[in-house]
Symmetry: C3
C-alpha cells in the first residue's frame, strides 16, 4: 500500500549515465534514461510494437531506441519513428514526470498532471559545500512500511546493531513522538553515556577525544511518502548536547529514501550527510562502508519479519510507545492512499 | 497454445545414447530412450507402480527399467515385468510415436493413431553429402510463438545482433511475405552492401574476398507446427545474388526447430546447414560457436518480452508489415489448434 | 497430512548449543533454544511485538531475547519483560512441549496438554554403552509418507543403491508384512548370498571374512508418527542368520526419523546404531559417510516422485505386496490424523 501521487527516489544519476535503467517503482515498470541534453526521461518499460523491454535498448540522439526492432521512443511516450514505418497511429505508452535534483533522480509514478517539482523533498545539505554525503542502495524483500517502523524507532539499534551504534542506554532513554501536519518527529536524548564504536570513530575523525562521556541524540523525521531523515550525533557531555557548539560535537543526518518496488519489496537508498571534515573522502568511504554493514543487519531482520507477517496475515501486532513514530507515519501514508482512492480507506 | 497432433523435434540422437532422457514436450512429460535394436522409444515419464520418474532409470535389454523398484516398462506403455509381480493388470501409460530421422528425434505428443511418419518435415540437406550441419539446443523461458515472430522478421538483426549479422541496410530493404497453403515465406533482398562480420568470415571460409560489396538475402520459411528454415547468403555484387553461381557466393540454411515445453517455455534447436567447405569441421565448429553467441542475444530479449507480456496480458500489440511473417505463421498455428479442439477457437 | 499430537524429532542437541534454531515442524514455525539450566525450550518463532523472527535473536539468562527490540520471551510463550514496557497485557505465543532424550530433541507440535513425555519412542541402543551411533540430517522436498513407503519396502535397494547395499537377491526373496497394534513389521530374509560392498566392509570392520556366503536380513519397524527402525545384518551362512551368535555376524539398526516440515517437505534424521566395534570412531565416521551417500540417492528419486505426483494428483498408484509395509503404515497415520480431526477422515 503506497501513494502513487508522490515523488520517490528512483535511482542515483550514475545509474543512467551509460545506458538505460529498467526499474519497478510502485508496481510501475519504468525505463529511465538520460537524453542528449542531459535531462532524465522515464517511460513505461514496454515497447508499443511487440512488448519488448525498452530498457534493454540504447539511447540514440537523446531518444530511447528499442533493442528489438529499432522503434524510437520519445520521452513523452509517443513513438518518434521506426525504420520503414509510419508511426502516427502507434499507441502511446506512459511517460512519468522525472526530475534530477539533490543528487538523486525523482520520479512521480502516479497521475502526471498532478506532479509539481516544487514538492520534491528539499535537501539543504545536498546543496551546501559545508556538507559531504555518501550512500548506497539495497533491494529488500519487505513492505517499505516495515522499514518506516524500523527507522522511526531506533530502539532496535541496541539489538540489531550491537557492535556498531547500539548501546544499552538507548533502551533506557525515553522517546517522544509528535506529528506536525505531515511531519512526524521521534526524539531520544541520552546524557553522559560512553559512545559506541561507530561514534567513537566519528569523534576521532573530527579530532575529538573518544574516551569521555558524551550526550547522544537521535531525532527521526518522517516526511511522506516515505523519507526518513535522522539527525544523529554526540557531543562531549555537558557542552550543550544537540545544541553544543560545532567544536564539541560530531553530528550527521542519516538519509533514508524508501521507495516501494511492489507491495512486498522496496528499494532502500541509504546514506549519511555530515558537516564535519567534509573534504576527507577517505572518511566518507569509511562511513559508507560502516553504514553498509550496519544497514545490512536490518535487511535480514526485516525480510524475516516480512515472511512471518505473510504467514500470519490476520495477527494483530502491538503498538507500544516506542512504535509511535512508525504508527503515526503509517497513518499519514494511509491518509494519502485514501485520498487517491477513497475505496482503499477500508483496506 | 500449440497443436499436439504434430511432429516436433524432441532431442538429438546423442542425448539418448547413454541413458534415458526426461523431457517435457507440449506439457507432456516424456521419457525417451534407445532400445537394443537402436530404435528410439518414448513413454510417459511416470512409473505406473508408484509414480517414480522413469527417465531416472536405466535401459536393460532394450526396455526401460524403473530406477526405484525395477518395474520393466515396454515401449508401448505396457509393463513387461516386475520382480516378483504379476503385471497383467497394471495400468498402461502413454506411449508416444517417435522417429529418428534427419539427425533428430521427432515425437508426436498428441493422438498416436493420427501420427504418420511420412509427415515429418523433410530435410534434404540432412541426407546429402554436399551439406554440413552444426547446431545446438537452448531452453528459453518464452512462448515459442515469440520465437516464430523473431525468426519470421529478421529486422531485429540490426538491433539485437549489431556485432555479427546485423547491419543498417536490413531495416531499409523492403520485406515481402506470402502464404502458400501452410507455408509462409518472408523475403528480404539487399543489393550492393558490405557484408557484416559473420558473413565476411564465411566469405573467407569459402575462399572469397570479403572486402567487396555483396548482394545479401534472407528468405524465411515457416512450416507448421513451428519449424523455421531461413535461406541466408551473400554473393559478390552483380553476380546474380540469390541465383549467383556457387563460386561467387556463400549461402546457408539457418535451421530452427521450436518445440514448446509448456505454454511459456520452449526448447530451441538451432543450427546451420551449409553447402560449401563441407568437410571443414573447424569451420563447422566456428560457425556453431558464432551462432551460439548470436542466438543467445535473442534469448535475453525474448525472455524479457515474455515477462512483459505476462504482466500486461490484455494489451494489444502492433502488427506491422515487418510482422506479417509472424502474424501469418501464427494464423496457421491457430487453425491447427482449433482443428484439434474447436472450443479453443475463441481463446 | 500428518498427526500433530505426536513426538517428532526436531533437531539434534548440537544444533541449539550455540544459538537458537528456527525450524518448521508440521507447518509450525518454531524457535528452539537451550535455557541456562540446559533444558530445551520451544516457542512460536514470532515475536508478539512486531512479528520478528525470534530465532534470529539470542539467549540471555536462559530466556530468548528478540533480536529486533529486545523483548524477552519466556519458555511458556509469555513475555517476561521488554525495556521500558509493561508486558502484562502482551499476547501469549505458542509454547511447545519439548524434551531432550536419547540424543535427540523431541517436539510435540499439537495440543500441549496432551503431551506425555513417557510416549517418546524408546531407543534402547541410545542408552547402552554396547552401542555406537552416527547419523545426519537431510532436508527433502517430498511428503514424508513417500519416505515411509521407501523405508518399509527395501526392494528399492536393488535399483537405487546398486553400488552399495543393493543386490539382485533382495528382489527375489519373499517379503512379509504384519501389523501389531500400531507397529508395522516388514521382513525379508536372504540365504547363502554374497554380501554387497557395504556389508563386506562391515564384515571386515568386525574382523569377519567378507568373501564367503552370508545370510542377510532386513526387518523394518514402523512406529507412529513416522519412525522407521530397520534391523539389518549379515551372518556367515548357516550360523543361524538373524539369530546367529554375535561372533558370526554384523548387524545394525538403521535409524530413520521422518519429521514433516510442510505437506510437501520433510526433515530426514537418518543414522545407524551398531553393537560391534563400538569404540572405533573411525568406523563410525566411515559408516556415516557411506550412509550419507546411499541416502542421498533416495533423495533424488523421492523429490522427482513428489513432482510427478503433484503433476498428476488424481492418478491412482499400485499397491503391491512389496508396498504392504508402506500401505499399512499409512493406514495407521491416517487413523491418527482422523482421530485428531474426524472431518479429515474423508480427505
Amino acid at each position: 500500500m503506497f501513494p502513487k501521487n508522490a515523488w520517490y527516489v528512483a535511482c542515483t544519476p550514475d545509474e543512467i549515465d551509460d545506458k538505460p535503467l529498467g526499474r519497478t517503482i510502485c508496481n510501475e515498470r519504468i525505463a529511465f534514461y538520460r537524453r542528449s541534453d542531459g535531462q532524465v526521461a522515464a517511460v513505461e518499460d514496454f515497447c508499443p510494437h511487440r512488448g519488448a523491454q525498452l530498457s534493454l535498448g540504447s539511447v540514440c540522439e537523446g531518444n530511447l531506441v528499442c533493442g528489438y526492432h529499432g522503434l524510437v521512443m520519445g520521452c513523452d511516450g509517443k513513438t518518434v519513428s521506426m525504420p520503414g514505418q509510419r508511426v502516427q497511429g502507434f499507441p502511446t505508452i506512459n511517460a512519468y514526470p522525472v526530475v534530477e535534483r539533490h543528487g538523486f533522480v525523482w520520479v512521480w509514478p502516479g497521475e502526471a498532471e498532478l506532479a509539481d517539482s516544487a514538492a520534491i523533498h528539499h535537501l539543504a545539505w545536498a546543496e551546501s559545500p559545508d556538507w559531504a554525503y555518501g550512500g548506497g542502495l539495497y533491494h529488500i524483500a519487505c513492505d517499505y512500511r516495515l522499514m518506516v517502523d524500523n527507522l522511526m524507532d531506533l530502539t532496535h539499534e541496541t539489538y540489531v546493531h550491537t557492535g556498531s551504534i547500539g548501546q544499552k542506554e538507548i533502551d533506557e532513554a525515553p522517546v517522544t513522538t509528535k506529528t506536525e501536519g505531515e511531519h512526524v518527529i521521534t526524539s531520544r536524548f541520552m546524557h553522559g553515556v560512553m559512545a559506541p564504536p561507530f561514534w567513537r570513530a566519528n569523534l576521532r575523525g573530527n579530532g575529538l577525544a573518544d574516551d569521555v562521556p558524551v550526550d547522544r541524540w537521535q531525532v527521526c523525521h518522517f516526511h511522506p511518502p516515505s523519507h526518513v531523515m535522522i539527525e544523529v550525533g554526540v557531543a562531549h557531555a555537558g557542552k550543550g548536547g544537540y545544541d553544543a557548539p560545532a567544536k564539541d560535537k560530531v553530528s550527521s543526518i542519516v538519509v533514508d529514501f524508501l521507495t516501494p518496488e511492489t507491495g512486498t519489496s522496496m528499494w532502500y537508498f541509504w546514506g549519511m550527510a555530515r558537516n564535519f571534515a567534509v573534504k576527507d573522502t577517505n572518511l566518507t568511504a569509511q562511513i559508507r562502508d560502516g553504514q553498509a554493514r550496519v544497514f545490512a543487519e536490518d535487511t535480514a531482520v526485516l525480510e524475516a519479519q516480512q515472511r512471518n507477517l505473510q504467514r500470519h496475515p490476520g495477527r494483530r501486532l502491538l503498538m507500544l510507545n516506542i512504535d509511535a513514530g512508525g504508527v503515526q507515519s503509517r497513518r499519514i501514508i494511509e491518509r494519502k492512499v485514501a485520498a487517491e482512492d477513497p475505496r482503499r480507506l477500508v483496506a
